[in-house]
Symmetry: C2
Subunit: 320 residues, 2 copies
């Protein structure tokens, strides 16, 4: 019997690290998670993962072809996680540790880039050579694919669409600048826009009963679905600012599609409609009605592992 | 004796078409130009070029390896010029005509993309895998190189940085939109900014003696050099708007350099300083002081032919 060929995807978060084994067709053979313990030696984390995965692989006689890792501040070129805010590890060469431990090639990038490669391997971007994946989480991440390859830029740090400036002297951003896209188009951006609109408009809204530090994007979503005007307008505005910003990247890169992934993308029509409308309104006529706005095809609970395993599959396919 | 290996570069303009033979090291062996006669059958133009080039190549025993063509509305994927405003040709498959006529491979793209490939083969971008070439002519053209390849996008129309929207409800643009980058950052944009500043500021300026339809970017340059405040401020503003817009593309693509080419780029410090300042002010901290702003290394009188010949060299090197 032929062994199943798989790659190992590892998504490192500040609290939990999830990992799993995925076949070339996207089939998931194994899934697990452990505490990251970001304040301890990272070798402990990787040894724990090795113990779990190795015993499974040996017992089930799988063929592990490679490892993909997604982590904050991870650099594809240097193979390192570099001073990530949520991990007190300083600079760690994760590829070096994992490829020795498992005796197989390993690759690393940030989670937004991994999401794009997962989408290309297993999701809505299958067969696409040019697309942009936007991750709408707490912040806004992006992975840009051009000519079938991820855009890492000359230093490995490309794809920071969350930190393009969209409003002059706009909202304060965690990066130190003002007016960055992610201060508007993200879960926290949506909450900030909701607060702005509660101050700007006089319409009645149950959101006025919630203290600002208890307001979440999920609550805004819930009230928007119930017909709350402020909540609905906040979604529209979020989509409008995102669509307008994306129009400029369509003119530059002419992608086949823009794919939305992550928490806010699940709001579906509340966000996709306004994104599409603002994109079409602002984009150069050459590109009108040519770019699809899609919702990610990766199942939410497996997406992080499929993205990172997708990175490994993408690299392995390049070599063959 | 070994024959010199060359490619033929052809740059088709509305009035004149220039062409020449260029070696892999950038050496120019031949240069000529003919009237485009854009209102007549394009085959006439290509036959004229063939007669000139073929007799030279035969007499000097050169080895013609390929042809690169630059033209308005030219599409790399379809091989066609498609309804270019300055050429009454409708849609023409230029690659088909030329590759049969010369019995050698031919490639086509627009002039801004060709400029980027000329820069990569023979100019300031030699050895760079990731850079952006901005052509500041009557309008603003751009060629984006990522992972060593030109970004054509999924339909061949990528690279339209001239038509990203930089000012909401801004200046009217020839493309039908408003606030496009090229309405500010180009020769005509500079003139429009000069007029705006003549209305906005009260400072004395000899530019007030020139009727608006006689005002040119060259005159603004001349007066800026003579110390005219309005002219100098117009250059600063042009650079500021360009640098601010480029900051967003640095965050997205992390290029090694941005290279300025064409008429306005010759104004050198008047434009490069403000571009650099605005870029650094607006860009995410990850990219600060990492991107070079360079002036094109292609000699102005040969640049169009070096760009198009560079396209052919780039394609030939890919195949080998």
């Amino acid at each position: 019997m032929q062994k199943a060929q798989v790659t190992l995807g590892i998504d490192i978060g500040g609290t939990n690290t999830v990992f799993g084994l995925i076949g070339e067709d996207g089939k998931q053979y194994y899934h697990n998670s452990v505490k990251t313990e970001a304040d301890r030696d990272p070798e402990l984390l990787f040894n724990k993962i090795y113990d779990h995965v190795n015993s499974f692989v040996e017992n089930s006689e799988m063929d592990l072809l490679g490892i993909g890792v997604g982590a904050p501040n991870a650099n594809y070129y240097t193979n390192k996680i570099e001073n990530a805010v949520n991990l007190s590890w300083g600079t760690v060469n994760v590829v070096d540790i994992l490829s020795k431990l498992f005796d197989t090639p390993a690759f690393i990038t940030n989670d937004a880039n991994a999401a794009a490669l997962g989408e290309k391997q297993f999701g809505e971007a299958e067969g696409m050579e040019d697309f942009i994946e936007i991750t709408l989480g707490t912040g806004l991440g992006s992975g840009i694919v051009v000519n079938g390859e991820l855009v890492y830029g000359h230093d490995g740090f490309a794809g920071e669409l969350g930190h393009i400036k969209v409003i002059e002297n706009g909202r304060e951003c965690g990066c130190g600048n003002r007016g960055c896209l992610e201060t508007y188009a993200s879960a926290t951006g949506l909450v900030r826009t909701t607060l702005e609109f509660l101050s700007k408009f006089k319409s009645e809204s149950e959101l006025r009963d919630i203290p600002p530090n208890k307001l979440t994007s999920k609550k805004v979503y819930k009230y928007a679905q119930k017909g709350d005007k402020i909540a609905q307008q906040a979604f529209s505005e979020t989509g409008r600012i995102l669509g307008r910003a994306l129009a400029n990247f369509v003119a530059a890169l002419s992608p086949e599609a823009i794919i939305l992934y992550g928490g806010l993308a699940n709001a579906n029509d509340l966000i996709v409609g306004p994104v599409k409308e603002a994109l079409e309104k602002n984009v150069m006529s050459t590109f009108k009605n040519k770019v699809d706005i899609l919702i990610s095809g990766l199942p939410e609970d497996k997406a992080a592992v499929m993205g990172t395993a997708g990175l490994a599959w993408h690299e392995i396919q390049k070599e063959n």
